[in-house]
């Protein structure tokens, strides 16, 4: 058995999560819930300024607070602080109150320095520098193909647009953190992570012990979205505190306030884009000058795992003649990290907004314009199916032609995600009673991996999934990579498949039966005198592949008197190769869209230009969509078993904000050029507020991109490296 069967008993069907009952009853034990004997609370002391030098921290004052068992510095002094909230020290104590008291007891010696927290100011020549040695703007990450200048010159129609997106926070329901027991020799961590092995390696490295002496467990975790790959400063500090308190377990879970400062974000993006088409409406030329801002650093260089300032350009409908000048800009704010399809939602917002601009200039239906320029047959099909579901032909009107105070609009956008699987191993133990245990060192980040493992095994063995116990989330299980890049399903499913096939062969050999699947399984297993064990691994082949497409359509109503955007309906058409579980796949689409709604309409980490703090470090003013903000979501899944398993967590999130922005522009006849689209921006774009903040931000955006042009013509020596 080399590939997926032609017909399925268990896959591609709606299967409830195996851990659903545990989750809804509270029995599921998250890193937050683990309570080992004698555990201590812990908290982090953070920099109260956005920039400056901390030369003294009174750790002894913390240690004198009753109940405090350990206090450690995050880094040796003096510390150059580059953002408000940077980790300085941590304490562990018997009670949370003792931790609070200890944090307040520690006097700091701080020399404040000037700072810059607004991206559009940071690019200007006289802005305070985040790093003394360099301007805040980086060298270019340039690309050129064809002859863009000539092609733009020759284009029959050209359009140009300025766009920007805000910094978004991951805001997982379970904050970052760990409970760690480390006696100086052996380390055990219960982590809220997307990668148990990455955390193991990070903690073992920081504590200077062999990898074999560190173990990380993640039975359940409450979301990460790209921000929970590494141990992070909070993991390192928990391990140090545990050691300093004589090996007592230390629970260091961040507060919601902490969560907004130092554990990553989706970088903001700023761009001037230009598109040229020939007289038939085929895209011929593309130009982009832009920059992203990942705070003071990228995730890779700031204990964040990964994630930088780049975003895709000239994609989905690429022009053969293109010029891209993309840079990064640093500010005094927490670092970026990978965030669900890094760079893609902003990149697609920019690209798809420009597409609608061009369709308008061409006097062409924007759907028709896309179909004309989309070289992917799968996505063209998805666009056509989505158009039918939303009633595009009957309901689409030209921008701004909706009558009345409340205006209706339709918009669409496409997506692509192309990361393949890999790096996964699984082990199967078959018991003589026919029951099966599968172990894989992956983790379930909420997407349903713990349900996928037994389902895949049940399909291969053709047995009742209730006979199968899947065990994941432990570095004592066979190595599997971090859950990111939508790689988990296409990595884990083939490894489990392979292990089950190998187990089946062993059972066949031992039992002397030819086909042990299905009805034969128990009989064959009964012939075993002891359990058999088989291994499996991900291999290049037809079990998994890469390349998930998607198209989303949005219907909105916008109140032109209040500026309020009311989402009426979203249609999402996506493919992910072979669908493992259509129920959890749908959940992925719903979740991705809801997160996209957040980015489109609400989410914006707001930095204070006066003090340099994050102004909205809570759910009161960092606004996430609530259930009342979610419209009907119509999910259409295309099943391509012949393509093997492809992940879909990211592609389903990519086009939502772009489709919403296009629908709003279609309703109003005027485009909101920056995300999120708030009532204030709508009223401003409709000319009701004069030269307000939004209008100023657009002129600042133009100025910032002019500055990039200037910088491009100067020596690049004083510039920092591009933040990847």
């Amino acid at each position: 058995m080399k590939t997926w069967p032609d017909t399925f008993q268990h896959l591609s069907k709606p299967r409830p999560r195996v851990d659903g009952p545990d989750k809804v009853t509270g029995r599921a034990e998250y890193a937050y819930d683990v309570l080992p004997q004698d555990w201590l609370y812990a908290m982090i002391l953070r920099a109260p300024v956005a920039a400056g030098t901390v030369s003294g921290i009174d750790l002894d004052a913390a240690r004198r607070v009753p109940g405090v068992r350990a206090a450690v510095l995050s880094r040796s002094l003096p510390v150059q602080v580059r953002f408000y909230g940077e980790e300085l020290a941590a304490v562990a104590a018997e009670t949370p109150q003792a931790c609070h008291d200890a944090l307040r007891a520690m006097r700091l010696e701080v020399n404040e320095a000037s700072f810059v927290v607004q991206e559009l100011e940071a690019v200007l020549p006289d802005a305070p520098r985040v790093f003394e040695e360099y301007e805040n703007i980086s060298k270019a990450q340039e690309s050129r193909q064809g002859n863009p200048e000539a092609a733009m010159e020759d284009a029959a129609t050209t359009v140009e647009g300025y766009y920007a997106t805000s910094v978004n926070l991951h805001q997982p329901m379970e904050t970052h953190g760990n409970t760690i027991r480390f006696n100086g020799e052996e380390l055990l961590a219960w982590s809220s992570t997307q990668g148990v092995f990455g955390v193991r390696d990070g903690l073992a490295g920081a504590m200077e012990i062999p990898l074999s002496k560190a173990r990380v467990i993640t039975r359940y975790m409450g979301g990460g979205f790209g921000s929970k790959f590494p141990a992070g400063a909070e993991g390192r500090l928990a391990a140090e505190l545990s050691k300093a308190s004589g090996g007592r377990p230390v629970k260091l879970m961040l507060t919601r306030f902490d969560e907004s400062l130092a554990v990553g974000n989706r970088p903001s993006c700023f761009a001037r884009v230009k598109l040229g088409t020939d007289s038939s409406g085929r895209i011929k030329a593309y130009e982009m000058t832009g920059f992203g801002c990942a705070g003071y650093a990228g995730g890779g260089s700031s204990e964040g795992g990964s994630g930088g300032a780049s975003f895709p350009a000239n994609h989905l409908y690429p022009a053969e003649n293109a010029r891209i000048d993309q840079r990064s800009v640093t500010i005094n704010a927490g670092s970026g990290r990978a965030f669900r399809a890094p760079g893609h939602p902003p990149g697609v917002f920019i690209q798809e907004s420009l597409m609608d601009q061009m369709a308008l200039a061409l006097d062409m239906d924007p759907l028709e314009f896309r179909l004309k320029n989309d070289d992917s047959p799968i996505r063209r099909k998805e666009f056509q199916m989505g158009a039918e579901r939303i009633g595009w032909k009957e309901n689409y009107r030209k921008p701004g032609s909706s009558e009345g105070v409340v205006k209706k609009g339709l918009g669409c956008a496409g997506s692509f995600w192309g990361v393949p699987g890999g790096d996964s191993n699984a082990e199967v133990q078959v018991n003589p009673d026919g029951s099966v245990v599968i172990r894989c060192g992956t983790q379930d980040i909420g997407t349903g991996t713990s349900t996928l493992v037994p389902l895949v095994a049940a399909e291969v063995l053709r047995i009742d999934p209730n006979l199968i116990k899947g065990e994941i989330g432990d570095t004592r299980f066979p190595y599997s990579g971090g859950s990111g890049g939508s790689r988990t399903a296409p990595s884990v499913a083939p490894a489990v498949f392979d292990a089950c096939v190998n187990a089946m062969e062993k059972v066949a050999a031992k039992s002397g039966m030819e086909d042990v699947r299905g009805d034969q399984w128990t009989e064959a297993c009964n012939k075993l005198s002891y359990p058999i064990v088989a291994q499996g691994e991900w291999k290049e082949g037809s079990l998994s592949s890469r390349g998930a497409y998607g198209a989303q359509f949005v219907e909105v109503e916008v109140d032109t008197e209040t500026g309020f955007v009311d989402l009426k309906r979203i249609v999402a058409v996506h493919d992910c190769g072979l669908i493992i579980n259509s129920l959890t796949a749908r959940s992925q689409v719903n979740g991705g869209i809801i997160m996209g709604i957040g980015g489109a309409l609400y989410e914006d980490r707001i930095m204070d230009p006066v003090s340099g703090v994050v102004l909205n470090p809570n759910f009161e003013t960092y606004k996430l969509p609530g259930i009342a903000d979610i419209p009907d979501i119509d999910v259409v899944l295309l099943n391509f078993p012949e393509r093997g398993v492809i992940g879909m967590g990211e592609p389903v999130h990519i086009p939502t904000s772009a489709a919403i922005a296009n629908a709003v522009a279609n309703a109003l006849g005027v485009r909101i050029q920056t995300l999120p689209i708030t009532p204030a921006k709508v009223l401003s774009a409709l000319g009701q507020t004069g030269n307000d903040q939004y209008q100023r931000s657009l002129s600042d955006l133009q100025k910032a991109l002019q500055r990039v042009d200037e910088v491009a013509s100067l020596s690049q020596e004083n510039l920092s490296e591009f933040v990847v």
Binding site: E561, S611, N616, G626, A628, P679, A680, N691, D692
Partner: protein, 316 residues
């Protein structure tokens, strides 16, 4: 949070006595605002005097001439009381838009009126702003998107009480137990100090206690509207309440009040007077609102608040 003593009051007078037994007491009712301020170390009381045990402090009495509300009536009851919604739809609607169901179940009428500023500078643990005894109103130089259109106060944080906006439109009165005895305050009185003292959230001295709210039942029609970023569980960006008696199709004693744009709910005699004796048309409402918002002193961040109030008044 600092340690504090806890005291259970049986009567309003007893609550005041217990309040004075410690040096930095606070009254506790629903605790929605107070406990948040304590957790953020904005307030560090040494005593909490619980008001919830006070007999008959959570009653709604429907009198012929006026309704009387105890201060411990929860927001949820104001939202769900059928007869109240019939007589004073503005109150029911204002209540419905407060926070989440959990907050409405805990939060009280008195607490909603006496709540402290939600300004993100005031609430930030590492910022000491003017309202907190610092030297600077950060919002004036920083981000004022949720701040006042009207105030002469150096602090530009607005009152965000939905119920205050509705009650002002209905000419409600707040009875306050002060060191001078029980006094009847208008809603203007309740927020007067917040217009002039940057550290004041309202006119209540620390030991003052709201003991009842009285709303005349004068046969007024009323309505309350708010606009937020999100559909539910969000503060109003702007809000508006209106009320009037209708006599032969003409407006009498009309009141037009806007919220979240000033240190207290805001109305203007000239704007109200424009409505007197006229038939309600959208043009008339628009003209009155224009007058009400005429003197708005917007910042680039909150300029949107001016146009976004127009539809509110039209519908009201």
């Amino acid at each position: 949070m600092k340690s504090f003593s806890y005291s259970q009051a049986q009567s309003f007078e007893g609550a005041v006595e217990r309040f004075h037994e410690a040096s930095a007491s606070r009254y506790l009712a629903g605790g929605v605002d107070l406990l948040g301020e304590m957790k953020d170390s904005l307030l560090e009381p040494d005593r909490l005097v619980n008001l919830k045990g006070i007999q008959e402090s959570d009653t709604i009495e429907a009198g012929d001439e006026a309704w009387t509300f105890g201060p411990n009536v929860t927001i949820a009851r104001l939202e769900k009381h059928g007869k109240l919604r019939e007589r004073f739809p503005a109150i029911a609607e204002a209540a419905r838009h407060v926070g989440s169901p959990q907050i409405r179940n805990m939060g009280t009428l008195g607490g909603n009126l006496a709540q402290h500023s939600r300004c993100w500078y005031y609430r930030h643990k590492d910022i000491q702003c003017l309202k907190n005894g610092g030297a600077l109103c950060y919002a004036r130089q920083g981000d004022s998107r949720y701040h006042c259109l009207f105030t002469d106060n150096p602090c530009i944080s607005p009152s965000v009480s939905n119920l205050a906006t509705a009650l002002m439109a209905l000419e409600g009165k707040v009875h306050v137990l002060t060191e001078r005895g029980e006094e009847e305050w208008s809603l203007e009185d309740l927020y007067r100090d917040a217009w002039r003292n940057p550290m004041a959230h309202n006119s209540l001295a620390p030991a003052d206690l709201i003991v009842r709210v009285v709303v005349p039942d004068a046969g007024r029609r009323s309505h309350y509207l708010q606009q937020s970023d999100r559909a539910e569980f969000d503060w109003a960006l702007v809000s508006a309440a209106a009320s009037a008696r209708m006599e032969d199709g003409k407006l009498r004693d009309a009141r037009l009040v806007v919220g979240c744009v000033a240190p207290g709910p805001h109305q203007l005699d000239e704007a109200n007077a424009m409505l007197e004796g006229k038939a309600l048309t959208s043009d008339l409402a628009a003209a009155a609102a224009e007058k009400l918002l005429d003197k708005a002193d917007a910042t680039p961040e909150n300029a949107y608040k001016v146009p976004s109030q127009k539809p509110s008044r039209g519908a009201a």
